[in-house]
Symmetry: none
Subunit: 415 residues, 2 copies
């Protein structure tokens, strides 16, 4: 079972808005075992819409169109469908009544232009809209079922669930299930090497990787006739991926690295503080992005200037002079002092050269020292590691903060 | 001049990721007078990519492709281009060397799979990537210029500016110049009212507004035959916009609010510290996003837990008990103590209810106190203001940090 998804709108091809509808619809279709052949976005231009609908109806069993159903002169999807069907537009009286009621409720007169929204090509069917004035349309073109919804995401989503799901052709014996396994701490090619033949393109479930800001998402797609088979194969592949990647894996689905670390801290009833130089508050920000982070995040210091490192965290001036701010002893001291002053179970410290200036032959841009201080009863243990991150200032800061989170994640796995 | 934009990736047609690249590219092309005929998204499937490139090259002068240049088996765009060109893939030695250098810097061996990224179809051209390992590709297909970039938005954007803009064909007999004026501190409708008839749709230069995360971008597009005319009309409209919006305007172009504030501090040789509760490091992070921020940003405190407010910034426990952490006296004390401890010229303090929990009838979610302490010789002056921000946790934190920056911006305008 194949689908094509069309998005209509000048604002989309002009780049003023991002089309989020097509991805949302694709994900819903995949759950029903319907695979999207392509997304296409075309402007508010009747010949372009007509051509796109024709092309889609020839290729696919299901064509879903969003946008171009509004009341203004640049909304032409309804007319385009009529042209493809070679059918006249006719007034659909119940839709007009409903629309008038909508405006009455708002206490405003209905503008004349809105009545176009109650027009329907002969032979097509009106789909009611409970969230706005524009009804959707449903038609048959050859073997394809065509469903047209307004472009406003809220209206589209509500109507999709109500009208599209029941109208979709039967499963015809296929189930597609998907899962995502998230990894951090190695490059995409290292992950691919570890996955080995799991990534073969003729494999089912199919395994692929995408990387975004250092996070490797391993995407798994299981495609079988029976639901049970698809589910079992998906579970087996997810497990195989997780076994091969080991500690690199931090979550499934859309759970982020700060969420995983926060959740572990909450479960163990432990707390953390941060001491940041080059990340300048980013690490604390990541900890506090999540609701309820006050359960485990106590606070932090941004000791950007060297005398702030001395004054707030008792990093000795002699140490700064001897080793420089980007050094193992300074990172360790920052973590130890933060742990003590913040009375926390863990303290993460970051000091590095984010760039673009400040680098040297010995400590080029991207050189970062991370330290983690851990309270074990009366003892404090500190581990520190040096990293060399590639990229620009933003990338160095991002990877430094994520690597610090990952140090704590691995520590929480152990103890 | 026409463009087609293709996005390649299973994750896109499966609906796991939203394609934001195509809209971004479209917007850049419009600024150059190049209009996008359609966007198309196809899976990691060589025949589908080949067909999409062929279709696009027949229709358009410029074809821009993103995605499918990674090192793994599901990255097939390079092979698809070779198939369309009927050309063999050949090793590009300088790219291989650059890639090896990239891994050397990371201190890791380069996996063999990465070497595919140094392959280039004979007759095509390699486009250097400064942000990752995958070079882009440029080729000529009939009358179409084809440019292929990695799908990672950051890499794509950097490469687009460096490689695509110079490669784009020129416009004939028309000059389109654009400018952006950025405003903060009022809603979009207030800005629109102040702009009045400047926003008429039949005006040239055309003036429009878009809002993103509280920042109102006033976009001006001047479209004339002669360069001089276009330039002069643009300058006049920019000036008219700035006059009408007054202090709401903080910058032109892509200069951000933290950059403006940072630049003013640098010019005046003054320094700032931050004391954050609900923003949890976000404000410090915004200050330190920019290169060279150590010239004016000294550091900050994230006093998330109440006893951190007491221990680190001497906020009296009695004050916290009497007024609560989200209150004027606490905000003022945080700013005063931060100014003193950080020996800075300015201290910004933020304390609020970011939500989703923690709200009350008296202080609902979105209630935020901001304070700014200013050193004037031996004197310290503190101003504080209460805000009620709408939206969810992310929005409340974002607006709080921006409003704090804006308090300091307005203070710097005055003295």
């Amino acid at each position: 079972m194949k689908a094509v998804i069309l998005a209509i709108g000048d604002e989309l091809v002009l780049g003023q808005n991002v089309d989020t509808n097509s991805a949302w619809i694709s994900a819903r279709l995949v759950e029903r075992g319907i695979f999207t052949v392509f997304h296409k976005t075309v402007p508010d231009d009747q010949p372009a819409i007509v051509a796109a609908i024709r092309e889609a109806a020839e290729l696919a069993d299901v064509v879903i169109v969003t946008g171009g159903l509004g009341p203004t002169a640049d909304d032409l999807t309804r007319q385009a469908l009529a042209e493809v069907m070679q059918a006249p537009l006719e007034l659909h009286a119940p839709s007009l009544e409903k629309m008038k009621g909508f405006f009455r409720k708002l206490g405003r007169p209905m503008p004349d232009t809105n009545s176009i929204q109650a027009m329907c090509p002969r032979g097509a069917e009106i789909l009611e809209n409970d969230f706005g004035t524009a009804p959707g349309l449903k038609a048959r073109l050859g073997r394809a079922t065509v469903l047209i919804f307004p472009g406003v995401p809220k209206e589209m989503k509500g109507m999709f669930d109500r009208h599209a799901l029941p109208a979709l052709p039967g499963q015809s014996g296929r189930t597609i299930l998907t899962a995502i396994v998230n990894a951090f701490g190695a490059g995409e090619s290292v992950v691919a090497e570890k996955l080995g033949e799991l990534m073969r393109r003729d494999r089912n479930p199919l395994v692929g990787t995408t990387v975004s800001a250092g996070i490797i998402a391993v995407r798994i797609r299981s495609d079988f006739e029976s639901v049970e088979r698809a589910r079992q194969a998906l579970a087996e592949t997810v497990q195989a991926v997780e076994e091969r990647l080991g500690d690199l894996v931090f979550s499934r689905g859309d759970v982020t690295l700060p969420q995983v670390v926060g959740e572990r801290l909450r479960q163990k009833g432990r707390s953390v503080v941060t001491v940041e130089s080059c990340t300048g508050g980013l690490l604390a920000k990541l900890f506090t992005d999540g609701a309820g982070s006050s359960d485990y995040f106590r606070g932090g210091w941004v000791v950007y200037a060297n005398d702030m490192k001395q004054g707030q965290l008792q990093v000795p001036a002699a140490m700064l002079d001897a080793y420089g701010a980007v050094s193992e002893p300074v990172a360790r001291t920052m973590a130890e002092q933060g742990l003590a002053a913040g009375r926390a179970d863990y303290a993460l410290a970051v000091t590095g050269v984010a760039g673009p200036s400040g680098g040297s032959a010995e400590k080029p841009v991207g050189t970062v020292w991370l330290a983690l201080a851990v309270r074990r009863g009366p003892e404090v243990q500190v581990q520190a590691e040096r990293f060399s991150f590639p990229g620009d200032r933003e990338m160095v800061r991002d990877r430094s903060a994520k690597m610090a989170l990952d140090m704590l994640r691995l520590e929480l796995l152990r103890g």
